[in-house]
Symmetry: C2
Subunit: 345 residues, 2 copies
Amino acid sequence: MAVTLREVAQLAGVSRSAVSRAFTEGASVSEKTRRRVMKAAAALGYRPNALASSLTTGRTKLIGLVSNNYQNPMFLHVFDLFTRGLQQRGLRPLLVNLTDETDPENSVRMLQQYSVDGVVVASSTLAPSFAEAFREAGMPVVHSFGRYSRSAQVHVVGIDNVECGRMAARTLLARGYTRLAFLGGPREATSTQDRQQGFLEELSKRADVAASHSHAESYTFKAGRQEMQRLLRSEPAQAYFCGDDVLSIGALSAASDAGLHVPSDIGLMGLNDMEIAGWENINLTTIRQPISQIVESSIELIVAMLEAPDRYPETRLFPCVLVERGTLRPPPVDLATTRPERPTR
Amino acid sequence: MAVTLREVAQLAGVSRSAVSRAFTEGASVSEKTRRRVMKAAAALGYRPNALASSLTTGRTKLIGLVSNNYQNPMFLHVFDLFTRGLQQRGLRPLLVNLTDETDPENSVRMLQQYSVDGVVVASSTLAPSFAEAFREAGMPVVHSFGRYSRSAQVHVVGIDNVECGRMAARTLLARGYTRLAFLGGPREATSTQDRQQGFLEELSKRADVAASHSHAESYTFKAGRQEMQRLLRSEPAQAYFCGDDVLSIGALSAASDAGLHVPSDIGLMGLNDMEIAGWENINLTTIRQPISQIVESSIELIVAMLEAPDRYPETRLFPCVLVERGTLRPPPVDLATTRPERPTR
DNA sequence: ACCTCGTCGGAAAGCGGTTGCAACGCGCCC
DNA sequence: GGGCGCGTTGCAACCGCTTTCCGACGAGGT
């Protein structure tokens, strides 16, 4: 079938070891034989078999990329960045789709069988224990978009979802809303739990503000729309902080269909700032999650672990920023706090 | 590091071959030793090394999944379906991101090094020669969403883009539009070329219809929006068939921003029927591409090739259907052709 | 001319499996 | 009781490559 080392060696008139060395960076070969070997290899179309070599080197350069977020358009971007980033470093992503699986057992076994060098868990909904299962199986792992935990057993790269919840609360309060609500994703999603916690916690400081919350069934347009439709049947809040952008857009469509004008009748804000949120016919006010940084940093960590697998687990949280667009009303002009320009003396 | 065959053999008190056989379906082992082996394996946490075994069996169960469409949300769905479908059959997708690469050389080499059992090229823009490069390198390959060609060297699964162009033309003509245009994706994309061809070909049959075309720089919202903005500066057509949904939505936003009402002032239709097209606040009239069928069929073919690599290349095109939503005006009520109900005699 | 040292290349063992082949034990039949 | 056949098992070679170990060889120094 494929051309092997031995055939190249034969043609070049050297031993198999010589050929192997010719292909390994920094091995002890004279320039002369290396050229001979390369010429023979080229003539034969030889490609070193990465799998066979992994048998002795113990490195496959395979990285398991496991995710359960195949609904959220943002994750296409995440996959794009991950695959490119890994490729650039000579690593190969072995994709694992976790949809409908909550037990890590199967993925762990499979990735073990393929001796992946490391695992990236890219999910905002899975519990920390999921990523830890890989670590317990002895694989380097980083959990991207994962939940921060004081006693983290694995690397976590992402954002501070609790703080994002607070930020959303502050933003809405600054707009003068007093009846607020959180429209979350699925209850089991760690990201929704944390965002809700921060949001409600911040609002609880204000006695004059009414806060409530409810949950959509999944992080999807349809679920967001349905939940908002349900909410609109009784008395809705003045503004909603939604579990993520997709949910917000679903809610937005429900509000429009109900004849409500956004933002004058009802306010909405999301989280992620996925590309669609910026589309002019959506124009969603949201909190931007620094995806590129998260991915880049995750890759950096996994690469570092290839060298030092026992590296102490680290948590890297990146700051999020508010992206103001058109789904929240402007801050009220509060005369009491509006100061005249300070005279130039 | 990991537990090996030999350790299991030792514990179970049998030879290595026995262990190997215990793990291979249909091998000649007595039930008794198989149980002994399994017990020992379980105790040790043994996992057969898939890569090592591939060395002798010649099968890795790795399938290269190569794509360059990491911008189009539809492809997240495609990846979802592919990864799940492959997983279900015990195959593992090795993801290759082709962004910014048009030369198959690198991917071919890489996938060869990892001895993938087959390759799925999932792209609506790459030329047939791309997929053929894998075949020439001796790998089973199927081109999903690829271009049909009479002399196809590889399996192609997708839709008849030329026919879709015609269908779009017929649809718009039936709506009574007489000044029509194609707003395509990048010129190099085979899907855009074919859709344009069918569209213009069908329109050319009608002397009373004016047809034109132009191209966006990429299959993205932004590019669609920009191109439409440019078109609106001079005299635009009455309706546009866009290269795909994302482009249409970009165009839609440009039209709205320009104060045009869709569909009364301008008509738009897309192609794909990606999920977003159905979102109520987008509500795009479009042509549905049967993604699940395409993916399912692609997997079926690649699986078949694992058994019979020299299978004769086959082209499977699936029919598309019009999905009527809100971006085209209704057909005119043409009195001349409206027939009275046929009396029941 | 001889010795030393460094460089280079070959032989061989091994990485974790699979598999053809031969041997073995057992039950059965004649 | 001997022969036969079959199911089971172990041995050993091999898959394609890496790496250790060692010997050969050439250059440089004295």
